[in-house]
């Protein structure tokens, strides 16, 4: 292992900076509130473009066996079938087509019938790449569990942060998390991107990443609270953000690099998923700096931990596990 010669890395990030993040806290929090309200409004007006997982119906991906797919001919044929709204879009290459058939009225069997009709209409010219048919029972279950999963994750995270830190941190984190989920969901609504199970997984991961970021900052705030007992809180919060900034940026850049690789090379099937992640990582980083920390400032924090050594353990401050 000592074959590796010593060479220094590039500490390219300027240190000792004091970017005045907290100076803009009112602006940022205000902006975030506007973004959240805007997202909520968009979701309420436009709704989600739910995928088959949540809406039921069928998704069929086919590839033309030779040449490119004739989408307009396909549209004519499938519209004549009388299976309700059929969305047809080119997917990846010219030969690949994604067909979405809306949920059929009636029981589970009606969904299968509709998918079969589409497949037999397309005939031998196309190769079946993927078929997903979800009936009304399963789609409603997936909707419920998806929502519960997101809420339960937020609850678990908040409990953990509350247990490890003061409640002010927890409040900051939870509002940051809601912000991240809401704004990401808003983007999906705005551009009408397909919202399916994998997007829920992406949202949950964004939660994990965002809280990860917030915890790193919170950890530093806690440490500095002990180190600089007399420093005004706003200044201390600003210092903590600045001190952890190099880490925030470096980790963010690495994660985004990896996600970009997935986005461009990982195939069309997971493209929506990686898009949600990419956006979420950006928004999650933003929220831990511009929402969670300012909230702690607004809420204020008890500064006399060290005077009560008996309680220090409960606050998780001085005692190392």
């Amino acid at each position: 292992m000592f074959l590796v010669p010593d060479f220094k890395g590039h500490d390219f990030f300027p240190h000792g900076t004091m970017l005045p993040f907290m100076k803009y806290k009112n602006l940022c929090v205000g902006l975030s509130i506007v973004m959240m309200l805007l997202s909520l409004g968009i979701i309420m007006v436009k709704g989600f473009n739910y995928g088959v997982d949540f809406k039921g119906g069928s998704l069929i991906e086919v590839r033309a066996k030779s040449g490119s797919a004739d989408i307009s001919a396909m549209r004519e044929q499938l519209d004549a079938l009388g299976v309700g709204e059929v969305q047809i879009q080119s997917f990846g290459s010219d030969a690949d087509v994604l067909i979405r058939v809306e949920q059929q009225p009636g029981e589970e069997e009606a969904q299968q019938d509709a998918a079969n009709k589409v497949l037999s209409t397309l005939g031998d010219k196309y190769e079946q790449r993927r078929i997903e048919v979800v009936g009304p029972a399963v789609s409603s279950e997936l909707r419920t569990t998806g929502l519960i999963a997101v809420l339960a994750s937020i609850a678990a995270i908040v409990l953990y942060v509350w247990f490890r830190f003061e409640w002010q941190f927890s409040a900051g984190v939870v509002i940051g998390l809601f912000h991240d989920v809401l704004v990401t969901a808003g983007i999906f609504s705005l551009f009408q991107l397909a919202f399916d199970l994998s997007i829920v997984a992406a949202l949950l991961t964004i939660l994990g990443y965002s809280v990860n970021d917030s915890v790193v900052v919170a950890d530093r705030i806690r440490e500095n609270l002990r180190k600089y007992k007399k420093m005004p809180l706003t200044e201390l919060l600003n210092l903590s953000i600045n001190e952890t900034l190099s880490r925030t940026i470096l980790t963010g850049v690495t994660t985004i690099a990896v996600l970009l690789a997935l986005f461009f090379l990982g195939g069309d099937v997971i493209q929506n998923f990686t898009f949600a992640m990419l956006f979420g990582v950006l928004i999650g980083t933003y929220s831990s700096i511009f929402i969670s920390a300012p909230l702690i400032d607004y809420l204020g924090i008890k500064r006399d931990w060290s005077d009560e050594p008996a309680k220090a353990g409960a606050g998780g401050a001085a005692v190392r596990p």
């Binding site: 979800v134 999963a149 530093r220 980790t251 990982g266």
Partner: protein
């Protein structure tokens, strides 16, 4: 934090070595694997259906049908019980979700209830200490009316029994299609999940499992025609059955005895074949002994009369008995194609399903898409890894190299764990894996940034490194545990793609902490020991 006892070093190196052994089978072909000595681990990580292609069908038992069946049986049992006990009743039938009995004499009510109670089955779970019964008996609104109503507990019990029973049948049917490694498992209370790797055309599969395939042979009423039966009412013990498909020379419906002569349970074999004369597809079958005897007796007494073969409540053929059939074998001709005869033979051999199963979810991935997904997953993984390695080494120099070694250990261990547990690798799983790489780097970034900070604060190299690991450790644990919480919830609540992602994420968090905190720390500690030995002032290559 930088002192490692000897046994700890052995433990770490040992873990990595074992990890390598378990991860290795994933990089060689199945043939090479077979030639390996037996003591080496050989388990490869199974690929999910989205990667290798295949069909995923989620089936639900028809609760309504099961309930109706049960109520009908209950009605027959109640009829028999009351008759045996010589309690007079003027009517018995299924009303809503209960069997309703109207007694001739209202004063018999208590006696009837006592008798009917004998039909009630206790159900309970001795482990949980719960107890109950599958149905309840109560007095009706009017005197002389007795109701027998299945409890929801009883229905649930029946459903889950039926689901368990259908698994075996489905397994036999699916296995008859080929030798693929298909799996059939119960999911939840009343659902069955069928997974068939490598299958992209699900038509036959759906046909095979979409039918109950309850076969029975019935006597045809000798005199009453369907029209007469429809006009009045079928005579006691008889019912009108529709024909499956109307063919020339056949009726569209038949009046048949409700109690069959022989049922599908009595079949020992069924094979598709062709009729010698017409060359039409047929199914030849063989009865077991009791079936052969029953059918033999029946055919002996009914020569010259028609009998009906009923499949799932539909008459599929109604031939005339030309002579007594005593050998216990025969053939069914119907409106078959070669394909449908073949399917029906499989279904008859496999036995009937307890109730109809409906497809509530289907996910089928063709082999070409699966292969494409693997390719793009690999490519994205490699590019992501290269980018990460470059960024880490560029930012942290020699220590960055150590972090990269930690990263590779992380990758190896996650592969090893997934192969050991036998978790299937799915496309979201690959995404999860790629993501854990970024998270593993985060742990190192936290440590190294801290070391730099300590150095800037004027600490010595040793103290800075020591502090860096120590201080960052708490933050790493805090931040990873919160992500772990999200991952565990995803696994717990999620299904399908979410689950695959959650598993990789969970395992990845564990291995990334081990890699960053233990492996990298060991490497840095060894570097430090070596640097100290040189006797010069130590400059940290970071």
């Amino acid at each position: 934090m930088l002192h490692f006892e000897r046994w700890k070093i052995f433990a770490i190196v040992g873990t990595i070595f074992v990890g390598f052994l378990f991860a290795l089978p994933n990089f060689v072909s199945k043939e090479t694997l077979a030639s390996w000595p037996s003591w080496l681990p050989k388990r490869q990580m199974p690929l999910g259906l989205d990667l290798q292609g295949g069909a995923h069908l989620l089936l639900a038992l028809d609760e309504k049908e099961l309930k109706t069946d049960w109520l009908n049986n209950l009605r027959e049992d109640a009829r028999k019980t009351l008759r045996d006990a010589k309690i007079g009743f003027s009517g018995i039938g299924v009303a809503g979700d209960a069997v309703q009995v109207r007694l001739v004499k209202p004063e018999d009510t208590d006696r009837a209830i006592t008798e009917l109670k004998k039909l009630v089955q206790p159900i309970g779970n001795p482990l949980l200490g719960t107890s109950g019964s599958d149905s309840e008996i109560e007095k009706g609104a009017e005197p002389g009316l007795v109701l027998m109503r299945p409890t929801s507990f009883g229905i649930q019990e029946r459903l889950s029994h039926a689901a368990a029973a259908s698994i075996e049948t489905i397994n036999r049917r699916v296995n008859a299609m080929g030798t693929a490694e298909s799996t059939v498992v119960q999911q939840g209370r009343d659902r069955v999940l069928v997974q068939y790797p490598g299958l992209s055309d699900t038509k036959q599969l759906k046909e095979l499992i979409g039918k109950t395939a309850k076969l029975s042979f019935h006597a045809v009423h000798p005199s009453i025609s369907v029209e007469e039966a429809k006009a009045s009412r079928p005579p006691m013990g008889y019912r009108i059955y529709d024909a499956d498909e109307k063919e020339e020379g056949y009726q569209s419906a038949y009046v048949l005895a409700e109690t069959p002569v022989v049922q599908g349970d009595d079949l020992v074999d069924a094979q598709p074949g062709f009729d010698h004369q017409t060359n039409a597809p047929i199914i030849s079958f063989r009865f077991n002994q009791s079936g052969a005897r029953k059918f033999g007796n029946f055919s002996k007494n009914h020569v010259g009369e028609p009998f009906a073969i009923v499949l799932d409540d539909k008459v599929i053929s109604a031939p005339v008995i030309r002579e007594a059939i005593l050998g216990g074998s025969g053939q069914i001709s119907g409106n078959f194609t070669v394909e449908s005869a073949n399917n029906l033979a499989i279904q008859l051999r496999s036995g009937a399903l307890p109730a109809k199963l409906t497809i509530v979810e289907e996910r089928t991935v063709g082999p070409s898409l699966g292969a494409d997904s693997i390719e793009s997953g690999k490519l994205a993984g490699i590019v992501g890894l290269v980018a990460t390695v470059f960024l880490t080494v560029y930012a942290y120099g020699t220590f960055g190299v150590y972090a990269v070694i930690g990263l590779f250990v992380h990758a190896v261990l996650i592969l090893a764990l997934m192969s050991m547990i036998g978790t299937t690798l799915t496309l979201p799983g690959i995404a999860g894996f790629v993501l854990t790489i970024a998270m593993a780097v985060d742990a190192n970034v936290l440590i190294y940034e801290r070391i730099r900070e300590e150095l800037r604060a004027g600490r010595t190299a040793i103290a800075a490194i020591e502090n860096g690991f120590q201080r960052a450790f708490v933050t790493i644990i805090d931040s990873q545990l919160t992500t772990l919480a999200a991952a565990v919830i995803m696994f717990w609540l999620g299904s399908g793609p979410i689950r695959g992602f959650a598993v990789t994420l969970t395992l990845g968090i564990l291995t990334s902490v081990f890699a960053a905190v233990t492996v990298t720390r060991l490497l840095v500690a060894m570097w430090l020991k070596n640097a100290k030995g040189k006797g010069r002032a130590i400059t940290v290559p970071i």
